[in-house]
Subunit: 428 residues, 2 copies
């Protein structure tokens, strides 16, 4: 397995003003490309340390990716250090210079000689042209060791990794074992249940596959990966693994992709079925509507909602009966059912959902501890409620409640009979 | 200045499953304690690499903080490597063993011999007792170089740094220059304006002070820091610096503390003045209500809101005139004013606020490009609107709109006449 190092340059990383998300992204990317990412170094804009770490990396790692230290204010140090390591001088790259001039013209900024220095690169490098910014990436080789310099701005770095570095990697390391990876999102299932249900997928395919569970407040993400001597082989193995995964857990996977949101999947289902939705929120305080409207185009199915924080709002806006609030309390099956039906009727929506609970940290009682949440659903003729008892953290309780509501809608729409976290269905 | 290294152990950091937030936190903490955090290393659970990096650190840095690699499944490697570096053997720590047994008893888990191994520590270490978990921290010294081992679980690591490591640092490095730091939150002022307005605070106090601007989607955070030979001296200097800062920028600082939220400050102002609020949201889709209700106790002043995504909801729920929507469009001064007045009236709230805009990425026109937002305010007899033209990113547009609305309320309540980003006031 080829060995990779990552070197992140920047004082802001060392004093903790910035968290090193670049290194995590590159680590994940290079792992998928079949590299063993063995070490990450964070160093300041210091000629000596840059020289020391890059020299060490060039004698130990097959591929070293360096980010940061290429901005117009401090690019001299990194580029100078690297030119000195390779014992070469700097030269101007005409394409880059033209590109920088164009950017300045477009933005209406005056172009100064300092700006031209960004077009200076060590003469032994291959320029990785940067469409997204002024600092170019650079690719170096010496004694079969490869070095990449990239700007530290995350979207420029990612652009260069995907568009310029990847083809170079394919060309340079043709025989390597590559990995294909896929992420699946689940909601409403604890990590332990999920791993019990899925079991050891790797057994079926012997070596070279992996399954990992990444928990988060909005659900557990499953990562599967498979290796092969070339991408097509790894991808083929991954398809088999994916099929096994679906055999065992299709009912709880709501979609594919690490960043996929449940509100997007539910939104697409609503759009496909030409259904509209409205939300009556008490304990989630707007977060449910917010999650739904985070999705571009959500105005097609999201009619709106009511944040009914005060009891008077529950009565006046949603038609909740005062007698039921008095008798059962605002956090109750009855009230959640009436809120859901009320908001569906008021907005003339196909689906009405509601949340009412004790988000915390205060307000709990022995009977209804902090974290008690009732969620109401009116979907056509179906009218039901679910009750969950969550934890003590207000923000996590809001987030989990939104996840349960959205996942319940999803499962209901595809006709599943089991509800998130095996919550019991209370019919109206 | 004393030199510090940070070593983070963990495969999950290298393959990018986890972002290294621990290193950022420790970097910030040690910087405040007067250390020059010169390098961060991330390495896997490998005996060789742990040995190599710790040996190097012990010969170069005054203080090295190592996190991770102490869990029950892999603690052997790190502790064994460190014992071998110091050429000592392992011994059982009775206090730690008792503590682990108690934790297992309380949680009702069976105690196995493997668990007892967590109480084994290199015999030359001073144990840093860990109330929050089973893995103890460890403090070592050799030739005036200090080494700390801490568990990688963030809240355990922070607990040990604050309660056990800090006193050791005070005792071990008494003469060092320490820093006192304070964070101030601002909203509605661009970073460049802020730094022009504040200028060079350092000039007043000569050396040993710093001002930094940390921008984010919900406003710019100002960090000031001052150094001294002891904490009291640094804190005294910081008070002077703080006074200078307030002389120059009191009007835009909404509060102190790195994590302080604008919705908390506005919430406290509303509670103090016994004012209630209600929100009518179109383009923010619930995020404004969500931000307000994120604050514990917000039910005291937050009556609720309407997410009026559909035009019909704006008319039916908020009394917006259909003729005005037809004539001016839903994203207009008129509609934002009517939404604010409507929601205040419906909820019988002292303050009504509204948002209507084109969050993007689609839906823009030449006249009203993506990012155009109108915000309406009804505060007692005052009735006005602000218009902002933001960017193309839907989620950032939602977040910035919420910031502008909350900051406008804050400035209005304290009688300031200038609005966020110098937006023009449009009276009803």
């Amino acid at each position: 397995m080829k060995k990779a190092y990552i070197i992140s340059i920047g004082n802001e990383l060392l004093i903790g003003d910035t968290v090193n998300t670049n290194a995590a992204w590159i680590g994940s990317y290079l792992t998928d490309q079949g590299f063993n990412v063995e070490q990450v170094f964070v160093i300041p804009d210091s000629y000596d340390l840059i020289t020391r770490r890059i020299t060490e990396a060039l004698s130990e790692a097959d591929l070293t990716v360096v980010t940061g230290g290429l901005g117009p204010t401090h690019d001299d140090i990194t580029k100078k250090a690297v030119a000195d390591i390779f014992e070469v001088s700097m030269q101007e790259n005409e394409e880059v210079l033209l590109h920088i001039r164009q950017i300045f013209k477009r933005r209406g900024f005056r172009f100064s000689p300092t700006n031209a220095e960004q077009a200076l690169v060590p003469e032994n490098c291959e320029v990785l042209f940067n469409k997204k910014g002024t600092a170019p990436g650079m690719w170096f080789v010496k004694n079969n060791r490869y070095l990449v310099l990239l700007p530290g701005v995350p979207h420029e770095m990612k652009h260069l990794m995907e568009k310029r570095v990847l083809p170079k990697i394919h060309e340079t390391f043709p025989g390597r074992e590559v990995w294909a990876t896929q992420y699946f999102r689940t909601a409403g299932v604890p990590e332990s249940t999920l791993s019990d249900q899925i079991g050891e997928l790797g057994d079926y395919l012997n070596n070279g596959v992996g399954v990992a569970y990444l928990p988060g407040a909005s659900g557990v993400t499953i990562r599967i990966s498979a290796s092969g001597s070339k991408t097509s082989e790894a991808e083929e193995k991954l398809v088999q693994l994916r099929n096994l995964l679906y055999e065992k857990a299709a009912n709880v996977i709501f979609g594919e992709g690490r960043e996929l949101r449940l509100s997007q999947v539910v939104g697409e289902m609503l759009a496909e079925r030409s259904l509209t939705i409205a939300a009556a929120e008490s304990c989630t305080g707007g977060l449910l509507s917010d999650a739904i409207t985070d999705i571009p185009g959500s105005s097609e199915y999201m009619l709106g909602g009511v944040v009914a924080y005060a009891n008077s709002a529950k009565m006046n806006y949603l038609g909740v009966a005062e007698a039921d609030i008095d008798r059962y309390g605002a956090v109750s099956r009855k009230v959640s059912l009436q809120m859901a039906a009320g908001v569906a009727a008021k907005f003339n929506a196909d689906i009405g959902v509601s949340t009412t609970g004790i988000a915390g940290p205060g307000g709990g009682t022995v009977e209804k501890p902090v974290g008690t949440v009732w969620m109401g659903f009116k979907v056509g003729d179906d009218h039901f409620a679910l009750k969950a008892v969550l934890g003590n953290d207000r923000l996590i309780n809001k987030e989990r409640t939104v996840m349960i509501v959205l996942e319940t809608i999803r499962r209901h729409l595809i006709g599943l009979e089991h509800y998130p976290y095996n919550l019991k269905l209370h019919r109206a």
